[in-house]
Amino acid sequence: MNNQSTPAAEFVDVTKSYGTLEVLQNLSFSIAPAERVSLIGPSGSGKTTILRMLMTLEQPTSGDIRVFGKPLSSGTGPRLREQDVRAARAHIGMVFQQFNLFPHMSAIGNVMEAPMQVLGMAKDDARAMAQALLDRVGLGAKADSYPSQLSGGQQQRVAIARALAMKPQIMLLDEITSALDPELIGEVLDVVHSLASETRMAMLVVTHEMGFARDIADRVIFMEKGRIVEEGLPDQVFEDPASERTRSFLRSVRR
């Protein structure tokens, strides 16, 4: 990677513990602007925790997290100012495993809400943008449906449009197809693929869909027990992993 450009996101010696359980140990890695990184590894290896710390839903126990060079969280340093954290966080968007749509708002209402409330966008502009985003995820005709009237795959696509509406430069996707019936997984992954080809967002993708992890990524990171075991180009990690642990993990998920 180019050392001159500032990373989009950077973990420096980050440790995360819950009580005595050390979930992430001295983790350091970075993501370049527009880079797509797949995070794979067995359940409990700390993948979700990484994404949640980037979204400031969890705080590191020690170490620093930076977004475009600006501090987002500091486990040991001085307490950061709320407005600085908010400014750093504004670059980041997230799509959750459980969608987390707002049940009292229609699909288009879900997408319009943050631009209007947070960015102060005028209602007509927000509606036009939201409609365009729903069109883009293939749900233009469902704009007025409520989440409870949509299938899981449709809900997740609304959630993607909602996250996009805030124009994040880093998109976090945490097992976004794990709560879906198998026949609905494809439509969601297709949307993510087209986003990847049409935008320059950095993406950090946690998934159990190994084909997707491989296709979407510029780089794959394999984690186990809170540590990065190996990282590299998708073809290299999937075809010729350096570590025996990666090899056995890939064997177990391919069965």
């Binding site: 980041i92 968007g93 959750f96 707002f102 009292h104 943050a114 409330q117």
Partner: protein, 215 residues
């Protein structure tokens, strides 16, 4: 004793006038109870240990003492040390404070029933705390607690009859005044019961309807 049908012509307009006062007092009280109850539930969530203990103590005291005693304290004792308020204002505040203690618990449970993922989505979309409460959490809490709040409104409506004891001329006060002057207790209280029932029954049907619709 015979029921004097002709007296209905006199009593009914009087009672409807009293009913108006009852409705105003109940509505005012439920607004006070909702506002205070919601405030307590929200403040309590982010309060430190000391403030939380203070809030819980007050709520417990209010819940464990009779409404009638609270009304007397507000009406006869408070003016000795503070501002004198009209009977109506005292009544609305008294009822509202009494019921806010119950509604704060209802709201607390309602807030806890909003999934954690909603708060996390709010952070991921850069909402601040106020926006999160106002646009995301409270609208969902309202849907969750509406039937319970409706039932408490019916309680408030029935208990507003206690305001007669602090000289508010609501529907019971009107009835007592009329019956005291004319000795037509039979007619007056029969009619009073019927009106209380019609309004109370309609309210509970409305709450039941809301409950079914929101389920």
């Amino acid at each position: 004793m015979n029921f004097d049908l002709n007296s209905i012509n006199v009593i009914l307009p009087l009672l409807l006038q009293g009913l108006k006062v009852t409705v105003i007092a109940s509505t005012g009280a439920v607004i006070v109870a909702i506002a205070l109850g919601l405030l307590i539930a929200i403040v309590r969530r982010s309060a430190g240990r000391a403030l939380r203990l203070a809030i819980d103590t007050v709520v417990t005291v209010v819940r464990s003492t009779p409404l009638l005693v609270q009304l007397y304290l507000l009406f006869y004792v408070l003016p000795l040390y503070g501002p004198a308020m009209s009977p109506m204002t005292t009544g609305i505040l008294g009822l509202g404070i009494h019921y806010c203690a119950y509604l704060s618990e209802v709201f607390r449970a309602g807030i806890d029933a909003v999934p954690k993922g909603q708060w996390e989505a709010a952070i991921a979309l850069q909402f601040n705390r106020l926006q999160t409460w106002r646009r995301l959490i409270i609208p969902q809490v309202v849907r969750i607690v509406l039937p319970q709040v409706g039932n408490y409104f019916i309680s408030i409506y029935k208990h507003s009859s206690l305001l007669a004891t602090i000289t508010v001329v609501e529907i019971l006060g009107t009835t007592l005044n009329y019956a005291g002057e004319t000795f037509r207790y039979f007619e007056a209280f029969t009619l009073l019961g019927i009106i209380y029932f019609i309004v109370g029954f309609s309210l509970s049907r409305t709450v039941g309807y809301l409950e079914r619709r929101l389920a």
